[in-house]
């Protein structure tokens, strides 16, 4: 893990309110699947850095998928090439790169960049409407309005394919509410081999502020350092 300067080398709309932002850093360790980085805009006064999954990495160049949500994401997606960023990473634990079944809604797909296009893995990917889906190869799509793939919730799409889900690892990512809804819908067999990457409001991102804890069977754990990936059955959501 290091803190370094990054320069935006490309910033383009990817889908809906999601931008694909490429950042050339001064130096960066190689990240593993599912790891994230903290990003700040050093020239814009005090703000906490924000966590974003490292979608792709090639040496010192990191690609992020950033969805407009509040203050900092609104600014980031408007930043021009050449803007300086503060980057701390790579952070958090990671997914094993064994073949996997993946369930990702919206910008959470960014946690699975390394799995996209792999023949040994199966990806369920959903959004509100087809314009919100970034252009990737997934196996099953869902949209709430039915404009692409299954009409409705991603979890419901997944359940219609339940019989096809073999013994591969099962990975899911997203806000706690989405993961909770998923856990409440699936059977124990799936739950027992599911790993979930959680989102939490973060102060530091590297384990020191104790601001990002979630409740688990072994007490409060830091999402940024003990996670972001937890075994689903450990979580008390």
């Amino acid at each position: 893990m290091i803190e370094t300067q990054g320069i935006i080398v490309s910033n383009k709309p990817a889908a809906g309110s999601i931008h694909r932002i490429e950042v050339e850093t001064e130096r960066m360790e190689l990240s593993k699947p599912g790891q994230f980085a903290m990003i700040g805009i050093p020239d814009e006064g005090f703000h906490l850095n924000r966590p974003f999954s490292i979608y792709k990495q090639k040496e010192n160049r990191l690609t992020f998928l950033i969805q407009k949500r509040g203050m900092i994401t609104s600014r980031l997606i408007k930043k021009s090439v050449g803007t300086k960023l503060r980057i701390i990473g790579p952070l958090g634990n990671w997914f094993s790169d064994a073949p996997a079944v993946i369930v990702a809604a919206g910008s959470s797909i960014a946690a699975f960049g390394d799995f996209i296009g792999r023949k040994d893995s199966t990806i369920f990917y959903g959004a509100a409407t087809k314009d919100d889906l970034i252009d990737i190869k997934a196996d099953f799509f869902s949209t709430m309005d039915g404009s692409r793939g299954f009409r409705g919730n991603l979890i419901e799409l997944f359940m219609t394919k339940r019989k096809q889900i073999d013994k591969r690892n099962l990975y899911i990512a997203g806000p706690a509410a989405f993961i909770k809804a998923f856990r409440n819908r699936i059977d124990d067999d799936l739950a027992n081999r599911c790993c979930a990457s959680l989102e939490a409001y973060m102060g530091c991102g590297f384990g020191v502020c104790l601001g990002c804890v979630i409740n688990t069977k072994s007490g409060y754990r830091r999402v940024c350092k003990d996670g972001t990936i937890f075994s689903l059955k450990e979580l008390l959501l």
């Binding site: 893990m1 409001y201 530091c204 601001g211 409060y220």
Partner: protein, 304 residues
């Protein structure tokens, strides 16, 4: 820069990493070695491990953040077993930050710390706004501050630093009470009691309802308090609150702090303190003054 003597200790430079923002001195290792610091204060420690408050525990605010961690910590036994062996390999000043709910527990904790050779001083946290009992309850009354400080001074074999709360009417009163009871130094300020309401949820944003505000938002309040306390007492002051640059640090020194502490900025730019230290030394050289002359110099200059 020459080393700085304060509270019977020698600091290689005036920069201290603040409690709760530096873990157990191991969180910075990916960024720099803790020996580059003048000193560091460990995360607040209690006799028993503490679970802390339920989430949400932190929230960003204009130019700052509010935290209500609730002093989650591993407890003194695990500190000794798991963390002290690493701290023993370090050379900068190591300060333990003590938290307890009762006077007797504070005393027991101070006695346990006596056994740890590598801890150079204790900072007593009578100013945490995020716990139901203990903490700030001691720090808002001059009598309780005096009584507790006296009792800890009696048993502690280490220099005792009292960390003051800004959540008081007159911080000088508390500062004098601590000095009168034998405190070797004062540390100020701890976070300022604050809250944010989430207007979408129509609820306080933090589960604890209130928390402690830190970061640049509190800097001018902290500078004012250091300035006033410097006039009220003669023991050294560790000044901090919102420091993120050389200029910020210099303000505290000129207000009267012998040492400065950096907290929240460790979250934002964790590799920065050594960079700030270097720039700070250069800035001090550029003035016509020695570092010790700069301490409190704002009190001695005249408006023209």
């Amino acid at each position: 820069m020459k080393s700085i003597k304060a509270a019977g200790l020698i600091f290689a430079n005036p920069f201290i990493a603040a409690s709760g923002t530096f873990g157990y001195a191991d969180s910075c290792l990916d960024f720099y070695h803790p020996d580059l610091l003048g000193g560091f204060v460990l995360k607040g420690i209690s006799l028993e491990p503490r679970k802390g408050n339920s989430p949400m525990r932190i929230i960003e605010t204009p130019s700052g953040m509010i935290n209500a961690i609730g002093l989650e910590n591993i407890g003194i036994e695990r500190l000794i077993k798991d963390k002290i062996p690493f701290i023993e390999t370090l050379h900068s000043v190591a300060i333990a930050n003590l938290y307890a709910e009762t006077k007797d527990d504070f005393i027991e904790l101070a006695e346990k710390i006596n056994e740890i050779k590598r801890i150079d001083a204790v900072e007593i946290n009578i100013s945490c706004p995020n716990v139901k009992s203990g903490g700030m309850q001691f720090g808002v009354s001059p009598e309780m501050t005096e009584n507790l400080t006296k009792n800890i001074k009696k048993v502690s074999s280490k220099p005792v630093i009292v960390k003051l709360s800004p959540n008081v009417t007159d911080i000088c009163e508390i500062a004098k009470a601590a000095e009168g009871a034998g405190a070797d130094a004062l540390s100020l300020i701890n976070t300022i009691s604050a809250m944010i309401i989430d207007t979408k949820k129509m609820l306080p944003a933090l589960a604890n309802v209130t928390g402690g505000l830190s970061g640049p938002a509190i800097l001018p309040i902290a500078v004012r308090m250091v300035y006033q306390v410097y006039e009220a007492v003669s023991i050294p002051i560790i000044g901090g609150g919102g420091i993120s640059s050389v200029n910020d640090a210099l303000q505290f020194v000129m207000a009267g702090a012998s040492l400065v502490s950096i907290g929240t900025y460790n979250f934002i730019s964790p590799a920065s303190i050594p960079v700030i230290i270097k720039q700070f030394n250069n800035e001090v050289k550029k003035t016509d003054y020695s570092y010790s002359d700069l301490i409190g110099i704002a009190h001695r200059q005249h408006f023209t």
